[in-house]
């Protein structure tokens, strides 16, 4: 007869399964590694960084056409064709192979008439110098040199309006500044410095991390590349890169890895199971709790987070290793229980063992959930998600096993001796080990202590993973290609982002004017190597007005210019248009450059798009990029108010360092909570220690192994360490409980179950170690060996610590024999 609580539990689990299925059907997988960065103090910087990540720069793909020698018109035509293919697809917002043909005219139109307002970034200091006699003489000397050049004919008309070459100077600065943000120009085309590559920039409509949309974009890009390669012929090669390529590739590779890992795990676990139980019909008994656990974990996480990160799924797939423990123990118990049902004394003992087993299983689940519960306190949203996913999964697998496990009793047929002979051999071997362990307990304990100390010392040599990007599943070939293509762009080395914002655009531009001057000083001092600023393209209106004001305050300006001209052998009479323009500027008729002027010109708007973000109902943001001499320097100590810096390298260094500190605290906290739970449960220090020691030593030995292998540890290694602790503690509890029960069946069930669990877990995690994804590898490398060590220690060390229990009986059995 089935009890009411069990029926209610089964009904509740069925409802939970349906609900989870409903949420899991809308599963949204995320592959953005920035989910694994902390919130809190740097939340603002992250938000601003995301503005850039989801902005135009991140949406831009770069296509590079390599030519056999300096690129000519054929290459240009090929790239134009590629651009046309991309444009007509409708998937791109903007496609450009160079600046518009009339870019020179655009610059002239935008800046020439405003040149007097753009004289200097520090007008009060510079303008009196620019227009002093000595400086004017130098300017006119330069004019003479320019007129002597073969290219002088290009400028003859212009210099009559601008003999001081103010516009030319401004253009040189702008060209230099624009060149930091875009590719170099060969004529009007984007090209590499060696002129052997022509470049095409294509900005997608979809966000770079929108895997579904970007898959279509990449398919089109691949098709276009193939077509152009064929048309261009030998010696030419077209390649492309973009953040979207990494997002799609990462998502695809992690999905493949997970599928492969799960398939291999399933096959491996099934094989191990057949080896132990000899019957296929038992396989669903272990698989169903795991599937149920996974389903509920996916459903709950999806419902609470609105999506699941690939790494959470990957880590969650390891639930296979934990979830399988519960049905294995139950099945082993049922199998041995069946054998002994005809013996009334044994049956009574078996009943007691069954209740004891349920308690052991509960404690196993409880300590694991406690361990992951500690992880849930993490400030890293990604880690919190993993914690929730794992805790829910483990609890669900346990609940399913307990609620539905008894139904499996019907699978055991009367008189069937499934694996009986093998069982006997197994029992004999383990009894031998146990007897040995008890007799040599002092040596085992001493070795364990030495192992712990040595491993602890070795683990201090562990190296930390400094670059979070190394956890992305990018193909090394793609990374290499990306690096090669990006090296063709001048500003690819600028990793520091500086965000300037204020209440309105004019105030933001004023702050940006100040930041420009600060950065110039930092460059002069050598603290930064270079920077790209919006300032030269778009100074504030205030600065332009100040320029004109200071210019107007110079007494006898026109006459001093004429005098310098005459002294340098230049005839002022030939420069009537210049003096007319100067008069206009002095009388306040000179136009000012405005953001709207730049945004209305497509060529300039493209330049502006990666530097100025104007959003509805939000403050405008100006983005400056810089490269610091020290890659970890984020300049936070010298930046003016209103400017925030974001250095991916500094940020990740800080984030990882913070994580390692936090993880250590969380693991210690988790261990403390688990220890308290176990000591509370055991009510004996020795038994508690016997339960915990294998996991603790296994964790430290695993760290030592990773150090010896030279592996750089990341947060997944550390998270996996918690997994070892949780599962290792489970093994300790099972063995310890079976010893406390002073029952041969309980002990046999525990022993057999721990070995089978460890083997299945080791197999499932071992599979992860061969995945291509570095994050999955990290889990596999840590948990695989760690769990084997924990199981071995639980089998050998726990009895040696806990005695006397069944070991005295075992000794008696041995001596009697």
């Amino acid at each position: 007869m089935i009890s009411k609580p069990i029926t209610a539990a089964r009904a509740a689990l069925a409802v939970l399964a349906v609900l989870s299925l409903w949420f899991a059907a809308g599963l949204k997988q995320d592959s953005d590694i920035t989910s694994f960065i902390p919130e809190g103090e740097q939340k603002k910087a992250v938000a601003l960084k995301n503005l850039v990540v989801s902005g135009n720069s991140a949406k831009t793909m770069i296509f590079a056409l390599k030519c056999p020698k300096e690129c000519g018109s054929k290459a240009g035509a090929c790239l134009d064709k590629a651009g046309e293919e991309l444009r007509k697809s409708g998937l791109f917002e903007h496609v450009a192979t160079g600046v518009p043909a009339d870019m020179g005219k655009v610059f002239f139109k935008t800046y020439f008439d405003s040149r007097f307002g753009l004289l200097s970034s520090q007008p009060e200091k510079d303008i009196p110098v620019i227009f002093n006699h000595a400086h004017l003489l130098k300017r006119f000397e330069k004019l003479r040199k320019v007129l002597a050049l073969p290219s002088a004919m290009f400028m003859k008309d212009m210099v009559t309006r601008d003999p001081l070459l103010l516009f030319q100077s401004r253009m040189e600065m702008l060209e230099k500044e624009a060149g930091k943000k875009t590719a170099l120009l060969c004529g009007k085309r984007f090209c590499s410095k060696d002129r052997r590559h022509l470049l095409l920039m294509a900005r997608t409509k979809a966000r770079p991390m929108d895997v579904d949309s970007q898959s279509k974009v990449l398919a089109l890009a691949e098709k276009t590349v193939e077509k152009i390669r064929k048309e261009a012929g030998p010696g030419y090669d077209l390649e492309f890169t973009g953040i979207n390529k990494f997002a799609v590739e990462s998502s695809s590779r992690i999905k493949k890895d997970i599928t492969l890992a799960m398939a291999l795990s399933f096959i491996g676990v099934a094989a191990l199971f057949l080896l132990f139980f000899k019957r296929v019909r038992f396989i669903p008994v272990v698989i169903l709790p795991i599937l149920f656990g996974m389903l509920v974990a996916v459903g709950v996480t999806q419902a609470l987070f609105g999506g699941i990160h690939g790494l959470t799924l990957a880590f969650g797939s390891t639930l296979l290793g934990i979830g399988i423990d519960f049905p294995i123990h139950l099945l082993n118990h049922m199998m041995l229980d069946k054998k002994n049902l005809d013996d009334s004394r044994q049956a009574r003992r078996s009943g007691r063992a069954g209740k004891s087993l349920n308690m052991s299983l509960f404690m196993g689940m409880f300590t694991t959930v406690l361990g992951f519960g500690a992880m849930a306190l993490s400030s890293y949203p990604g880690v919190r998600q993993i914690a929730l996913f794992s805790a829910v999964g483990v609890f669900s697998a346990f609940a399913f096993s307990i609620a539905f496990g008894p139904l499996a009793r019907g699978l055991f047929r009367f008189g069937e001796n499934a694996g009986l002979r093998q069982r006997q051999v197994f029992t004999d071997i383990t009894r031998t080990i146990i007897t040995f362990a008890w007799k040599r307990r002092r040596i085992i304990q001493a070795i364990s202590v030495v192992l712990l100390v040595v491993s602890f010392v070795l683990s201090t040599g562990l190296k930390e993973e400094k670059d979070l990007r190394n956890l992305q599943a990018a193909d090394p070939a793609t990374l290499k290609q990306d690096k090669e293509i990006r090296s063709l762009l001048p500003a690819s080395y600028m990793q520091l982002l500086l965000f300037t914002t204020s209440r309105d655009l004019e105030m933001t531009l004023r702050k940006n004017d100040g930041l420009y001057l600060d950065l110039k000083k930092l460059k002069a001092s050598g603290r930064i190597k270079g920077f790209a600023s919006l300032h030269l393209l778009l100074p504030s209106l205030d600065l332009q007005e100040r320029n004109l004001k200071v210019l107007g305050s110079i007494k006898g300006l026109e006459e001093s210019i004429r005098e310098a001209m005459r002294e340098e052998g230049i005839r002022p009479a030939a420069f009537g248009p210049f003096f007319k323009d100067l008069d206009g500027a002095l009388s306040g008729k000179s136009p000012l450059v405005k953001a709207s002027d730049l945004r209305s010109e497509p060529g300039l708007a493209m330049l502006l798009s990666s530097m100025l973000y104007i959003r509805e109902n939000k403050k405008p943001v100006v983005v400056t990029t810089a490269s610091t001499s020290n890659p970890g320097d984020d300049l936070s100590d010298v930046l003016p108010e209103g400017t925030t810096s974001f250095s991916e390298i500094a940020f990740v260094n800080h984030a990882l360092s913070m994580f390692h500190k936090e993880a250590s605290i969380l693991i210690l906290a988790g261990l403390l909570i688990i220890a308290l739970a176990i000591f509370g449960y055991k009510r004996s220090i020795l038994s508690g220690l016997a339960s915990i020691a294998p996991a603790l030593i296994a964790g430290v030995v695993t760290l030592a192994l990773l150090a010896l292998l030279g592996e750089r540890i990341n947060f997944l290694h550390i998270s996996s360490l918690l997994l070892i602790l949780c599962m290792g503690v489970d093994y300790g509890i099972f063995i310890s409980d079976s010893l406390s029960a002073r029952d041969e069946i309980a002990f046999e069930v525990a022993l057999r179950s721990v070995i089978l669990s460890a083997l299945t877990t080791c197999f499932t995690f071992g599979v992860l170690a061969v995945c291509r994804n570095p994050a999955l590898k990290a889990i596999g490398h840590t948990v695989g060996p760690g769990i084997v060590i924990a199981a071995l220690l639980a089998i050998v060390l726990t009895p040696s610590l806990q005695g006397p229990g069944i070991f005295r009986q075992e000794e008696g059995i041995r001596s009697n024999r």
Partner: protein, 228 residues
């Protein structure tokens, strides 16, 4: 407009080598006025020029240019080297007072600041005037001299050991900007001087020395001068 003018230096240099003889130029030849009595001799000289051109594969020389500009009190003096290779490669290196090079090759005009090693390339297909000027240079240097007859009125003077050709633009921008071009050869028909008078009063006089015909360019030279 400025593109065409900037190329005039090459243009004129090329013209000096390829002026057509009336007999060879057909109807175009009738437009040539010979201002001096010794017409037979002049024609003979032009025939020699055309013949010489057809044999011309390479050329290199030094130049000195004196620019007299309305803007300046004193003329500007520049110096450098020039190179030509059939069918259409021209390179000029100015070495004094500043360093700049100009190269015409493969439909492109490249201007390089030699001190900064910084180049700007103009795609000639984007500028009709520049393209026309460069095509003129290339076609003339290749021996298709009759083309010039459409753009210039040609006059020949033979003053003893010196041959002078005077070109007066007929149409378009060139007519608006240039009054006349005078090209001077020595008795061996080696180019000596090119003078350009602009309508605004500016004047350029370019004299050539160390002229060497048909000395092949090495691979390194071809790469250096013509980006080949």
């Amino acid at each position: 407009m400025t593109g065409r003018l900037s190329l005039s230096i090459f243009f004129i240099w090329a013209i000096t080598l390829v002026l057509p003889c009336p007999g060879n130029a057909g109807s175009a030849g009738s437009r040539v006025n010979e201002q001096h009595a010794n017409a037979g001799s002049a024609c003979s000289k032009r025939k020699d020029l055309v013949r010489k051109l057809s044999l011309l594969r390479t050329m290199r020389c030094s130049f000195k240019e004196v620019k007299t500009l309305e803007m300046l009190d004193e003329p500007l003096i520049t110096r450098g080297r020039m190179y030509y290779m059939k069918p259409g490669f021209v390179h000029q290196d100015m070495t004094s007072p500043a360093r700049q090079s100009v190269t015409i090759a493969g439909g492109k005009l490249k201007v390089t600041n030699l001190d900064l090693n910084k180049s700007e390339i103009m795609n000639l297909s984007k500028s009709k005037s520049a393209q026309a000027a460069v095509q003129s240079v290339v076609q003339v240097m290749s021996g298709r001299a009759a083309l010039l007859e459409d753009q210039y009125e040609c006059m020949l003077s033979n003053m003893g050991r010196i041959v002078r050709i005077i070109l007066i633009p007929r149409t378009g921008l060139l007519k608006k900007m240039i009054s006349r071009i005078v090209v001077t050869f020595d008795s061996s028909l080696v180019i000596k001087k090119v003078e350009i008078d602009e309508k605004k009063g500016d004047k350029s006089v370019m004299t050539f020395t160390d002229v060497v015909y048909n000395k092949p360019f090495s691979k390194e030279e071809m790469s250096k001068y013509f980006d080949l």
